[in-house]
């Protein structure tokens, strides 16, 4: 019924999206935590929201170690990749922006 307000992603969301973008394959939660330093208390609700927004795809993958349960692996969807790339470019532009001299 109404247009949904789009908010700028948080710093943690940016980090997670960029980590998933740069990863060669899908990542599990513990790996994302190790790469980004985001604690699971924040990470999992964030991943759940990203999946709700169709930015993230998840799948179960059998563990390579016997007796261990399958792990939940995450990768970006096409929409997620576009968002992550735009965030990455935004960060690069911000970093490369030359410092302006203060007006007199």
């Amino acid at each position: 019924m109404s247009m949904r307000k789009t908010r700028a992603p948080s710093k943690a969301t940016k980090q997670a999206l960029i980590a998933l973008l740069n990863a060669p394959g899908s990542l599990h939660g513990y790996e994302i935590m190790q790469i980004t330093g985001i604690n699971p208390g924040t990470l999992y609700p964030m991943l759940a929201r990203l999946e709700d927004q169709a930015m993230l795809a998840s799948q179960w993958q059998d563990s390579s170690v016997d007796g261990r349960p399958p792990r939940h692996m995450y990768s970006l969807t096409e929409a997620g990749r576009i968002l992550a790339k735009s965030l990455l470019n935004e960060d690069r532009r911000a970093t490369n922006q030359p410092l302006r001299a203060k007006p007199a």
Binding site: K5, G41, V65, P69, R71
Partner: protein
Amino acid sequence: MMRDALEQLILWLAPERRKKWAQAMAAEISATGNGREAIAFALSCVIACCRFRLELNISSAKTGSNIVKDRFVVSTFTAGVVAGLIGLAYLLVSGAPLTMVIVNGAAIVVGILLVPSLRVAARATDSAVTATALIGAFILFGTAIFGYAIEDASRWLLIGPFFIQTSLILLPLIAICFARIQSFRTTLAVFVAAFAMAAQPDRAMAAMLFVAVAIVAMMRSNRLTISAAAFSTMTFAATLVLPDRLPAVPFVDFILWSAFDIGLWVGLALWAGCLLLVCPIAFVPKGERTVLHYVFASCWLTLIAAAAMGAYPTPIVGYGASAIIGYFLSLVFLQTGPQGCLAGSDAQTNLSERDETIPPLRNNAATLAV
């Protein structure tokens, strides 16, 4: 051992909708071993599950807009209470009859007591909304035909000692119902209500319906909404042509200007109180506003404009209390999903000495117009 207990806790804490995520966390905990790191990871996962649970409790639909809606409802409620109190303060300062003060004060209490019905209203189905619109419209029509008339204006129902100006209670509800559902039946309700406003006749309320329906037609343009807007335009035009001989009443009509005679701050406070009723829409981000928000705000704004331009009561100081009750009722209907707006109603108690020029409704000490 502790790790297993935490895994069980995580699975138990997570709501059904997020069970998959709890299983994912449990799998990660199993994979990370038994060390301190795994325990820290597990404890943090418990926090994640608490957040999932909290998310469930904040909003059953788990959407951001529900939280916004709640903020809108809270601000509407607060605005109603504060505006009502400002109205009471005006009555005290201006030396209005005590009965008027009591009725207005009681209205605030009644309004607050209506709040528990929010939960019931939130479950209103489409057929209930349609039925509300139709019943309301036919009551307005009945009032125009069989209601209590003063100076050719038939706007009131006499119930016990109370004169009830039905349009002030029902017309905003009809506008809200129409904003929610644009069906043949709700459009019929708008036609009947618009005709009733012309038959009563009541310029302020006809203007309110016209503005509300025009907003719906602009935002949800279709054959039904456009025809409803066209008809309400015609009936509003009719009320402008028809004579309105009701004289202004002290403490009620034109007070947005006469309050400045008492003091600058009194006048400003009265304006602030009235405009406060429209302010809750500011708490809804522009992208989240729906036709219902706009209809709600426009209903009250139209009443304020009418009170500023003609001999019509303000929403916060009417003949008594109906406007205040109406505002809280509109809050109840807002909760049904969208917005409601109950136009101001007036209630009046007796006003000072009897004057031949003042109609009995506005003069009778024993009557309270609601």
